[in-house]
């Protein structure tokens, strides 16, 4: 976990850049995801319409979030789902622990949940003597290897087949080395099957929670989500409070956007709609269903009309797949639960700028993420906002550690830039000096960074202004 000043992003990124295997794995995998998305969203104008619908649904939900959450609680309670509120990560973890302890449970199986990663739930439970076993194949692989997810929907995407074969061989007893994908799948299935039947509680995330009906939607491809939510006698669902939508009719377009953007699928293999625990006379399903609704800074994000767009996110991960930075450094280098473009805007808001503000500089603002985001979050624009917040604390700021980066050198540099570019005479003199100095300009500061990978720019001996004067082009 990050320390007080946050992880050393540049160092992590540089290490990742030098890992040839890692870069190869990501380039290959992300290329595939991009292609699959393109195939499913081949009709540009229809895709654009659908993205607008997704944006409308999420904005509508966020604009009435408190009411929708109350309605969700009411409906869930009517349906027999017990709702728990958690303002902090610690409160959320305590809810899980209390439910486990009530049932004297020591074994938990988990479907994939990024909120549980945010909570650090596995480590928390382990310290309390409770085994939390990941059942999503990717999560299962990295848990065996004591790693964190490197992608929000494909957590082990940084591993290739050979690396997975090695992990299974080393970490699972009596497992011979095999690179055969079918065999590897069978090994995981067999190991996990026992865990499902053995577990006393199952935990899952939530993709959409419907206020109108009190329905929890969970989509997945492996069936482990269905197993985790139906086999053990108790099911705990954890969600960030932004996951609530108004109506059941809001789900189909969002589902379509989510699966198309994430994996290029029309629909996932499993779509679970959970509306109650097992009813009298029913033969299966959990006896108890709990829903933990987590805030962890989200309501503060909601209070800012611009930054609240961050909460539109449906966690499809397509911004990661399309990001030229993520593709090169992978998810671990970011040092936080949420990597990639969405992580660059979310982590600094949740953790504060001191800890995570560096992430906002790790973008060329190329707009690739904004172009594909299924709910049209203007990520580059929010990155600019966080960059502004990093230097200035005088605005109506809602972001923690606003102004943390304010420093004399950059202030003077940008004031000088402003003066050059608002006073033509100073500009002309400045340019003449630069073109005279040419290659003699010392390689310090910005130029030192620039010339790590490039030669220094060569200032022309005559500026465009001079050439244009010589041509006699009209001024006004």
């Amino acid at each position: 976990m990050p320390n007080d000043t946050g992880p050393n992003f540049q160092q992590n990124a540089s290490r990742a850049l030098n890992d040839k295997q890692l870069r190869k794995n990501f380039k290959f995998a992300m290329g595939n995801f991009i292609l699959k998305r393109k195939q499913i969203f081949s009709d540009e104008s229809k895709t654009e319409q659908l993205r607008q619908i997704g944006n409308d649904i999420k904005r509508r939900a966020l604009s009435q979030l408190p009411q929708l959450l109350e309605q969700l609680e009411e409906k869930c309670t009517q349906n027999g789902i017990q709702v728990h509120w958690a303002e902090t990560l610690s409160e959320a973890n305590q809810h899980v622990l209390r439910i486990m302890q009530t049932h004297r449970a020591t074994r938990l199986v988990k479907g994939k949940s990024m909120v549980s990663e945010e909570m650090g739930l596995n480590d928390f439970l382990q310290k309390k003597g409770i085994e939390a076993r990941e059942t999503d194949l990717g999560e299962f692989i990295i848990q065996l290897n004591n790693e964190k997810p490197s992608h929000i929907i494909v957590p082990a995407i940084h591993k290739n087949k050979k690396q997975i074969a090695q992990i299974f061989h080393e970490k699972l007893s009596d497992t011979p080395y095999t690179e055969d994908v079918e065999e590897l799948n069978a090994i995981a299935r067999e190991t996990l099957r026992k865990k499902f039947f053995d577990a006393q509680v199952g935990l899952s995330g939530v993709n959409f929670a419907v206020a109108e009906t009190g329905t929890l939607c969970l989509i997945e491809n492996e069936g482990n989500g269905r197993m985790s939510t139906t086999v053990p006698p108790v099911h705990i669902a954890v969600m960030g409070l932004e996951k609530v939508v108004e109506k059941l009719a809001d789900v189909p377009p969002l589902l379509r956007l989510l699966t198309g953007s994430a994996t290029g699928q029309l629909i996932t293999t499993y779509v679970n709609m959970i509306t109650s625990p097992r009813k009298d006379g029913e033969r299966d399903g959990p006896r108890e269903v709990h829903l933990i609704i987590l805030d962890n800074g989200r309501s503060k994000i909601l209070s800012d009309p611009q930054l609240r767009q961050t909460l539109q996110c449906i966690r499809c991960g397509t911004c990661l797949n399309h990001c030229p930075v993520y593709t090169r450094i992978g998810g671990h280098a970011y040092g936080f639960v949420y990597p990639g473009p969405i992580g660059k805007i979310l982590n600094p808001q949740i953790e504060g700028l001191k800890k995570a503000g560096e992430l906002a500089t790790a973008s060329s603002l190329c707009e690739a993420c904004a172009e594909v985001c299924p709910v049209k979050i203007p990520i580059p624009q929010l990155l600019r906002r966080l960059r502004n917040e990093s230097y200035a604390s005088d605005s109506f700021s809602t972001v923690k550690d606003s102004g943390y980066k304010k420093n004399l050198i950059e202030t003077i540099a940008w004031k000088s830039w402003e003066m050059m570019n608002t006073h033509p005479l100073i500009n002309t003199i400045g340019q003449k000096i630069m073109s005279r100095l040419g290659a003699q300009i010392p390689k310090i500061g910005p130029l030192k960074q620039w010339t790590r990978h490039r030669t220094a720019p060569k200032f022309a001996s005559k500026s465009l202004h001079q050439l244009i004067d010589e041509e006699g082009i009209q001024d006004e």
Binding site: P324, V325, N388, H453, T455, I468, E476
Partner: protein, 250 residues
């Protein structure tokens, strides 16, 4: 798609700060291409920079001052031609955001509406027809992110290249991927930016083209700097300068 605009009598030209200092020949070539089609070009002398460097780096106040200085120089209702997708996007799409809630917003909006990128202006408004006088050459093309995703003008740029009979355009494998420039991004995250530009250089090399063309001087400065550094024998050039040279060979 809306109707193509009428050919105007006069246009303003915004030369961009990078053209002014590093690529003045490219800036002049763009201007001459317009003049050659019989349109009078006005270059307000006090212009400098669109303000994007500060806007993207966390200094919006400074960006606003520089932006407003430019806006006040382009007073007549002529189109403003910008030979850069990125600066054009800044002035067309980002100025109204930068000045949201500002007393000058209306003035800004009037200005932003008139911004047009050079390729689009040459193709749609001037319907330029060119005769290639150059030797056969293989070139490749780099799409700048803002020209591609904010101005949507890449097809105009490429159609200009395709008009030149002796020029063979070989496309990059990852044409839509950023070259890693990103203004101060190249300074703040030098290694990530360096990895991105190295991949772009390798992509350009595998095309076998002898020249890489682009419509943005930021990308050009980045890519050509990396090519020089790696001693890669591919020359890079702004599209406007390339076209002018080939259609007005000495």
């Amino acid at each position: 798609m809306s109707h193509d605009p009428q050919k105007p009598e006069k246009v303003y030209y915004f030369g961009t700060c990078l053209m002014d200092t590093i690529y003045p020949e490219a800036g002049l070539a763009g201007l001459k291409l317009i003049q050659h089609e019989g349109v009078q070009v006005i270059f307000p002398r006090e212009q400098s920079c669109c303000g994007q460097p500060a806007y993207n780096s966390g200094f919006p106040k400074e960006a606003r001052k520089v932006a407003l200085t430019q806006v006040r120089l382009f007073t007549e209702n002529y189109p403003i031609v910008v030979p850069s997708g990125s600066c054009a996007a800044m002035m067309k799409h980002h100025y109204p955001l930068l000045f949201a809630g500002d007393a000058n917003l209306e003035l800004i909006q009037q200005f932003s509406k008139r911004i047009v990128e050079l390729s689009e202006f040459l193709v749609r408004t001037l319907k330029i027809k060119m005769e290639d006088r150059g030797q056969p050459i293989k070139v490749t093309w780099h799409s700048s992110c803002h020209a591609l995703r904010e101005m949507h003008i890449i097809e105009y740029s490429k159609s200009l290249i395709r008009q030149l009979q002796n020029v063979e355009l070989i496309e990059l494998q990852n044409e839509h991927e950023c070259c890693g420039f990103g203004g101060t991004f190249a300074i703040k995250q030098p290694n990530i930016s360096g990895a991105m530009v190295s991949d772009k250089v390798a992509d350009a090399q595998q095309t076998g083209a002898e020249r890489l063309l682009a419509g943005d001087c930021g990308c050009l400065m980045n890519i050509s700097g990396a090519m020089d550094y790696q001693k890669v024998p591919v020359r890079s050039q702004h599209l406007a300068e390339f076209i002018w040279e080939r259609t007005h060979a000495k």
